[in-house]
Amino acid sequence: MRFKSTYWFSLSLLLFFIHPLFANQVLSPNPTVTNPFVEVAPENVVAKDLPNNSGKVLQVSWNFPDTLPIMPRTIKIYRYEHDTISKHIADVTPNVKSFLDTSVMNGIPYRYSVQAEYPTGIVGGLISEPAIAKAEWFDRSKINLFVIALILVSFILGYIFYSEKGQRLFIRKIAGIQAIEEAVGRATEMGKPVLFVPGTQDMDNVQTIAGLTILSSVAKMTAKYETKLDVPVSRSITMSTGRETVHEAYLAAGRPDLYSDDIVHYITDEQFGFVAAIDGIMVRDRPAACIYMGAFFAESLILAETGNGIGAIQIAGTAMPTQLPFFVAACDYTLIGEELFAASAYLSGDKRSIASLKGQDMGKAFAIVLIAVTALFSTLSVITGNEFFTNISTFLLNLTISK
């Protein structure tokens, strides 16, 4: 098992480092020619299709000196369709040396001519070779993204499939997650409700979905202990999904009789209206446990401070980096970023979900190796000034984002 994953990890790294072999070659820029004559005409008119796009655009480029004895007023661009009709399509300033024609159709050959208009007259007019705009089916400029996606996905899926074969994976304990069960337990002892807020965002935010999967585990606990659960939400679709989730949890816990649609209730889409209402719920119903799991904005601290004021155990989890400090400061436990997504796997105990955490770890290892190797080579390049190291470090940096 261990051997296999190392092997696999190295293979992925290798694949990643060689992937530019499959990428596009970088084109070298055209040399500029200066002309001694006074009225200089644009030269080397070239039309070409741009790669990695949906077509419908051609690039026309030409050579033209930057400084001239007499500056032309403007550069005129003409287009020939099917070699017959010529159409004046644009005027550009003389210091521009290329033009993107976005008014072309895919699959039709076009020729272009570029002329310089001087106060004394118009010169130029060479007609380019034909070019055809076409849409492509794979964006080769995104090949590095593609390879990284492939590697990360293979890590996660790989472990999920391993787990199907019955491998047990070690996962360390996370205090905040264990605290959830304790908090529900305490609420039960005190005979007080549990308040669960799945963030303030809609279902198009993955954090809301993660929050709801944690809700599913919490609802199973409250069903088992017969504790009152209250889930106010601020989006209608979240309400619908939340109801399905809680309903399923109560069924799974064998207590469908305790379920009611009123557990998950909509308040308002307005961020601060929602907060005002939850503050009201807190001071009036006095829940013993407040659990905030999902995407939060400025409301995080208002909620956490009010919860603190009523003496509730508070557990928060969010992947909003800006709000984490407030939860960390005001709550008893906080799931930081990635831990929010891990929590649902921990709590559900689902073998495949736990396995996916191991895949995420491989992803982090991949990031660490990448950062370390790149940092190492760019350090060597700085110290030695050696071109070899410089090339390697530029190469490594281009692997993640090519300019």
Partner: protein
């Protein structure tokens, strides 16, 4: 000794409503009394000021209004102070907006700063408002190759060719400096990435406090200075006032500095008291 411990114990668990009361008073009192504070400029703010101070007369500076009404308290004083400073230095000011809401804000600067303080400056010669164009980051990209293709008219619809100060502007590279006052994306960050870095044009600006941490990494190599939040604005105002006392009447961020600072100091005092109380009670 026993008395001491119980006192500190009580203090460390003080009802937080006392804290609320202190905050309310510290904010309200300086406002009611009209106390004025000066602000000591941070290095990043000072850098903006000094760089502009060194610009020769006639330098061409682009200032982009990339914010809307919700962040006016933080952003507007920055824009106002910058325009005042630039015009005092006899620079040529080109206003524009990447945000649709920015147009109203540049109009505000013209009405409240430029017209009353610089009656001799002529529109189209010393300053111009190009207004908003859609496109966001794409707009910045386009301007990089050709300004006049995007801006054929100014904000009020006059032909761009009719303004003398536009005659030698072809691309963004013709500007000596780009300033962006922003509260989100696209804003200063995009100006750095798509204009400053590409064309080696000095870029700086001001952002809301919340956005500032995102921009620190660009300083000083890609961005020569930054005003962060209301405080940054106040610091810049104090620098401008120091050099040009007549700007005093236009200060708006500085007015808010007294209550802000006092409340801020109160919070610091709370943190210190909390820790003393914690250590006193822990010893027992």
């Amino acid at each position: 000794m026993k008395f001491d411990t119980t006192f500190w114990m009580k203090l460390s668990q003080i009802d937080r409503r006392w804290i609320f009361l202190v905050i309310a008073i510290t904010v309200a009192l300086p406002m009611v009394l009209g106390i004025d504070f000066t602000a000591v400029p941070a290095p990043m703010v000072e850098k903006v000021f000094q760089t502009i101070q060194r610009l020769p007369a006639g330098s061409k500076v682009l200032i982009s209004y990339d914010y809307g009404p919700s962040t006016v308290p933080e952003n507007q004083p920055m824009a106002d102070a910058l325009v005042f400073h630039l015009l005092s230095k006899d620079c040529k000011v080109y206003m524009m907006a990447v945000w649709a809401t920015g147009e109203r804000q540049s109009q505000y600067t013209i009405d409240h700063i430029v017209k009353p303080s610089f009656p001799n400056k002529e529109y189209g010669v010393d300053y111009i408002d190009l207004g908003f164009k859609a496109g966001g980051t794409g707009l910045i990209n386009m301007l990089f190759t050709s300004v006049k293709r995007m801006y054929t008219t100014d904000r009020t619809g006059n032909d761009i060719q009719s303004f003398p100060m536009m005659s030698d502007i072809e691309t963004l590279k013709n500007f000596d400096m780009i300033l962006s006052i922003s509260s989100g994306a696209p804003g200063l960050k995009e100006w750095i990435q798509f204009a400053g870095d590409r064309g080696n044009i000095p870029v700086a600006g001001g952002v809301t406090a919340v956005q500032a941490t995102e921009l620190f990494p660009y300083y000083p190599r890609q961005m020569f200075g930054l005003m962060a939040g209301l405080q940054g604005a106040a610091e810049y105002e104090s620098l401008v006032i120091h050099m040009y006392p007549k700007f005093f009447q236009h200060r708006s961020a500085l007015r808010k500095m007294a209550p802000q600072t006092v409340a801020h100091l109160a919070i610091i005092a709370f943190v210190i008291i909390g820790n003393i109380a914690y250590f006193m009670t822990r010893k027992k």
